[in-house]
């Protein structure tokens, strides 16, 4: 042990610590200063734990406290509070740099250290200062804006009051500060790992070391005798059905007799400390009988392949889509291209790893199990927990969540925490490592696609034929939904009269696929949009022009036969044309030498509100003239709090600071479905409007102006609105025809890249997005979604690939940094949608759907290397160049 004296946020403190105690743990565990976040397994990869020590920004996970005697430490809590924020915190909030907020305290501390030494930094200086701080939400654009704005504030050239929109001014189309952003900027928003639980046990899980095996025995005796261990539980200790069923009951919370993938959870250890729990989990002895391991859909569909699940064959879902006669039309087409494309397994890579806590509130028969986690669908997860754990009285609470990008459609850590709280009858905390978190959460499905696309002599599409095989991985989660989404958006932005598609979903022993931003359409769009460029080249038509002339028109039908009344895509082609022409001109001079410059475009029209979808939102007029909105609208960073607050204030005239949101727990909210599918603005916003209309009608009818007067008039003060999709029903099992999404958000993206033809490296210079999302409620939030999604799309195109057992952290994942950030521009058109709330749609996923094909098409334009298999690593680009030569 060593005695250390140091100052923390201006207060002198004395600590006696072990030599290996790091500053991050001391701040979080001993001082309850949870503004500094732990994400990267204390490897110094993410910067979420950045604090200032002796005037310099440092990653506190790398700082040994024993070496800090006499140090002066400042954490984000030492800068400001939500009621008295620091100028940098104001700048981050006003710039829209706070999305999920998990990285924000670290970003702010790095900015503080920079501006203390250089109050007028240029972009290069900002990038250097923030190069160790990762963000998955923003694409770094708004963070750079925030640092620039903070420098203006610090130099006295502007003030927050000069920048802040008038809260009494218009509510729609104005970037009012997000209601949740300041608590995140001040580090006082509690994420799951920040929640203090008195006498909580720490959990660790023993995972499968096999990909496919029978479990012969689980010996917990050694683990149970280890220091600090309270107990070990296995599947037999779970009282419910132990199933994590969303569509098919094929995955257990804890595997009892069989494992289907490396990393399946088998035993839970509860101990006094996390280290003790992890040591004991490693000592759980499991013996297996290995079964044949199936690593690809091709192997899974082979004759005599081992069947992975009893209830379904390996080829577990098959759905054709047939419109017209694609075979005949292709044969008669003037031009056609055919190719094979594939996409990789990828991780959503939120910066906050999985974490859940659970405890029992109350005693005896009335004890309620409270589970706190990162869910985006708390009522669905509640139902799963009730059945899986065999305990009815459950409350799910959503903590602040560090991004998720679709990942949290599935659930595991909550069930582990809940099961342990019930079994050990103690509060528990489950904080998996980043490596464990990446291993056990769902991934983006890999697609393998064979397609043919034909057109007539004028370049008008005649037929699209595509077979795609989806690697479902070991468990279903929502695999069928991903296939159906791909089919419902198959023809993208275009009118293609003849379609022949076949979707096949196949179990393997790979990690389970799940929802990932876009969930199906990004994979199909990659193949289709590359094929369109190939066809355009064959017939000598400009890539933008072929997209424009093939745009669907109102009254025409998409691949499912669904007809749309609005389709403002051609306007977007026109909107991006000046930028496109300029970029093409700039690239024209860069077609020789080692560094080649190229321009690529791709488009998509993304579906909003699936057939049969419905939302529910309740509003209640408060005695003080405020309005409370009750709805389970998760907000892991998109800005749903802005959306609800600004729509409600706009429609009622009630000040935004008197609009209250109750969104986070199942005891008090209305079920709303998942914060997925880009549906919250359209579905929750639409439901909110219907609820407010009822309230206003009651007030007009009675002449009541207050809650009290409404009550006296005998009317309720609470009203529920439910937006329901105009169409319902599924796709026809034989033809795949049927209703599609109610509305669409349209976009066309242009990537400008440089390719080094010697080493195959690709540098993205700029991505321009022309988008028509309908009415824009909050411009900064819209741009933030666009920029973050584009950054993810570029990562998907060029770098990111999840390899099970090897991708264990942000370095092996090739996480985007501020050094890989690039210029982004948004061109926005606002065609009000007929049934959108105030004319709006949603943009969360659209933003990355066409990024990868735009980049891949740009690479081809630059150097003639066509990449068919994502990601376009330097090796693949070099190989494609060599093949071309």
């Amino acid at each position: 042990m060593k005695k250390v004296l140091m100052k923390v946020n201006g207060r002198s403190r004395q600590f006696v610590v072990e030599p290996d105690r790091v500053l991050l743990d001391l701040l979080r565990e001993d001082l309850s200063l949870t503004g500094a976040k732990q994400s990267c397994d204390r490897k110094g990869q993410c910067g979420a734990c950045t604090v200032i020590v002796n005037g310099k920004a440092v990653r506190s996970c790398l700082q040994k406290v024993a070496n800090l005697d006499g140090a002066d430490v400042i954490t984000v809590e030492g800068l400001g509070t939500p009621f008295n924020p620091h100028l940098i915190q104001e700048a981050f909030v006003l710039s829209g740099a706070v999305q999920c907020g998990f990285c924000t305290p670290g970003m702010i501390m790095a900015t503080k250290a920079l501006l203390d030494s250089n109050p007028n930094p240029d972009i290069d200086a900002i990038k250097r200062a923030l190069q160790h701080n990762l963000c998955r939400c923003t694409g770094y654009a708004k963070i750079i804006d925030a640092v620039k704005l903070a420098s203006l504030f610090i130099r006295g050239e502007s003030t927050p009051d000069a920048v802040r929109p008038d809260p009494n001014g218009p509510k729609i189309g104005v970037s009012h500060p997000r209601p949740s952003s300041m608590v995140k900027a001040c580090g006082v928003a509690q994420f799951s790992a920040d929640i203090h639980l008195q006498d909580a046990l720490e959990l660790a899980v023993a995972h499968s070391t096999e990909y496919h095996a029978k479990i012969l025995s689980i010996d917990t005796s050694t683990a149970e005798r280890m220091p600090g261990v309270i107990g070990v539980m296995t599947a037999k200790d779970i009282k419910g059905d132990n199933s994590l069923k969303l569509i098919v009951a094929d995955q257990n919370v804890l595997a009892g007799d069989k494992v289907h993938c490396l990393g399946d959870s088998i035993a839970i250890v509860a101990a006094r400390t996390r280290d003790q729990a992890r040591a004991a989990a490693a000592a759980v002895a499991i013996t297996y009988q290995s079964l044949p391991v199936i690593k690809s859909p091709k192997e899974a569909m082979a004759q005599r392949a081992a069947q992975l699940h009893a209830q379904l064959p390996n080829l577990c879902f098959r759905q054709p889509q047939i419109k017209g006669d694609a075979k005949k039309a292709l044969a008669e087409s003037a031009f056609a291209v055919g190719a094979h494309f594939s996409t990789q397994m990828n991780h959503q890579a939120p910066l906050e790893p999985e974490v859940s806590v659970a405890y029992l509130e109350g005693d005896g028969e009335d004890a309620q199990l409270v589970v706190v986690g990162r869910s985006i669908n708390i009522h669905s997860d509640l139902a799963i927990l009730q059945t899986a754990l065999g305990y009815e009285n459950v409350r799910y609470e959503e903590a602040f969540s560090g991004g998720q990008f679709g990942q949290k459609t599935a659930m595991l850590s909550e069930a582990i925490a809940g099961a342990a709280a019930l079994h050990f009858q103690r509060p528990v905390r489950y904080v998996p490592s980043l490596a464990e978190s990446m291993m056990t959460t769902t991934k983006r499905h890999p697609f393998d696609m064979n397609l043919n696309l034909g057109c007539n002599k004028d370049g008008k599409f005649t037929a699209f034929d595509i077979d795609f095989i989806v690697d479902n991985g070991a468990y279903m989660n929502i695999g069928t939904v991903v296939c159906l989404r791909a089919l419902r958006m198959l023809s993208g932005s275009y009118h293609i009269p003849n379609i022949n598609a076949l979707a096949q979903l196949v179990y393997t022993n790979n990690p389970a696929g799940g929802t990932a931003r876009g969930a199906g359409p990004p994979q199909i769009a990659f193949a289709l949009e590359c094929a369109i460029d190939m066809l355009a080249e064959r017939i000598g038509i400009d890539p933008l022009e072929i997209r424009r002339i093939n745009s669907l028109l109102p009254g025409q039908s998409i691949s499912t036969g669904h007809v749309y009344e609005q389709w403002p895509f051609p306007d977007l082609c026109a909107a991006i044309k000046p930028s496109y022409d300029k970029a093409r001109k700039a690239a024209a001079s860069g077609k020789s030498g080692t560094i080649r410059r190229g321009v690529g475009i791709a488009a998509h029209s993304f579906g909003i509100m699936s057939p049969g979808d419905a939302g529910r939102v309740a509003v209640e007029l408060d005695p003080d003239g405020g309005l409370t909105i009750f709805c389970a609208v998760a907000d892991p960073g998109e800005g749903n709090d802005s959306m609800l607050t600004q729509i409600a204030s706009h429609l009622t005239g009630i000040a935004m600071n008197k609009i209250r949101l109750v969104t986070r727990d199942t005891d008090h909210t209305v079920g709303m479905g998942p914060a997925a599918g880009s549906r919250m603005t359209y579905v929750a916003g639409g439901s909110l409007i219907l609820a407010i209309e009822q309230l206003k009608h009651a007030m007009e009818e009675t002449g009541a102006r207050t809650c009290e007067e409404l009550k006296k008039a005998g009317k309720p003060t609470r009203y529920m609105g439910s937006k329901k999709a105009l169409k319902e029903g599924g796709l026809d099992p034989e033809t795949g025809l049927g209703p599609s999404f109610e509305s669409r958000v349209h976009s066309i993206q242009m990537a400008e890249v440089e390719v080094n033809i010697d080493n195959g490296e690709v540098r993205v210079l700029k991505v321009t997005t022309a988008v028509d999302p309908g009415t824009v409620i909050h411009p900064q939030n819209l741009e933030g979604q666009l920029e973050g999604g584009v950054d993810q799309g570029v990562g998907y195109a060029l770098r990111e690939e999840y390899v099970h057992g090897k991708t264990i952290d942000y370095v092996t994942f090739k996480f985007p940094t501020i050094m890989t950030a690039f210029e982004m521009e948004s061109i926005i058109r606002e065609t009000p949608r007929l049934r959108g709330p105030l004319g709006a749609t949603g943009v969360g996923e659209m933003t990355m759907v066409c990024t990868a094909p735009a980049v891949i098409n740009a690479i081809y334009d630059a150097c003639g290397a066509r990449i068919y298999d994502l990601p376009a690593t330097p090796e693949k680009v070099k190989a494609a160049l060599a093949k071309r030569r």
Partner: protein, 131 residues
């Protein structure tokens, strides 16, 4: 040791059928002449489509020939609660409203409250994944 592939379920003599869109999406069912959209687990897609006749048809399917007063009381409470709160009540809420023990409550409907009574009451399937 690598097991023989006969350890896998394919060799137990049954070959399960694969799924298609018809298995995983909403479908229309006829309840005594009334067409109602239901999900893959036969939960009503729209709680507003519920009628007492639909409830009786669903009750019959899960083995209840006639619904007694207590069962109707639970069903009506479930619906009233849902349309006010926008979610199904927990059993403790039903217990407080109806005044019977949790054990009696669970025995009142085959499948208990969550899989039995909620379905008969026309409440949505708690496990939904729109998108």
């Amino acid at each position: 040791m690598v097991a023989d592939t006969r350890d896998s379920p394919r060799w137990d003599g049954t070959t399960p059928r694969l799924l298609d869109a018809g298995d995983v999406q909403q479908k229309v069912r006829d309840f005594g002449g009334k067409e109602v959209l239901v999900d893959k687990d036969d939960f009503l897609w729209r709680p507003e489509d519920w009628t007492e006749d639909v409830a009786m048809a669903l009750a019959t399917e899960c083995g209840i020939d006639t619904m007694n007063d207590l069962q109707w009381q639970v069903i009506r409470f479930l619906r009233e609660y849902f349309f006010y709160h926008g979610r199904a009540p927990l059993n403790r809420d039903i217990k407080a409203a109806v005044g019977i023990s949790l054990m009696e409550l669970e025995c009142l409907f085959p499948g208990g409250i969550r899989r039995g009574a909620r379905r008969i009451a026309g409440l949505p399937n708690p496990r939904t994944c729109s998108g």
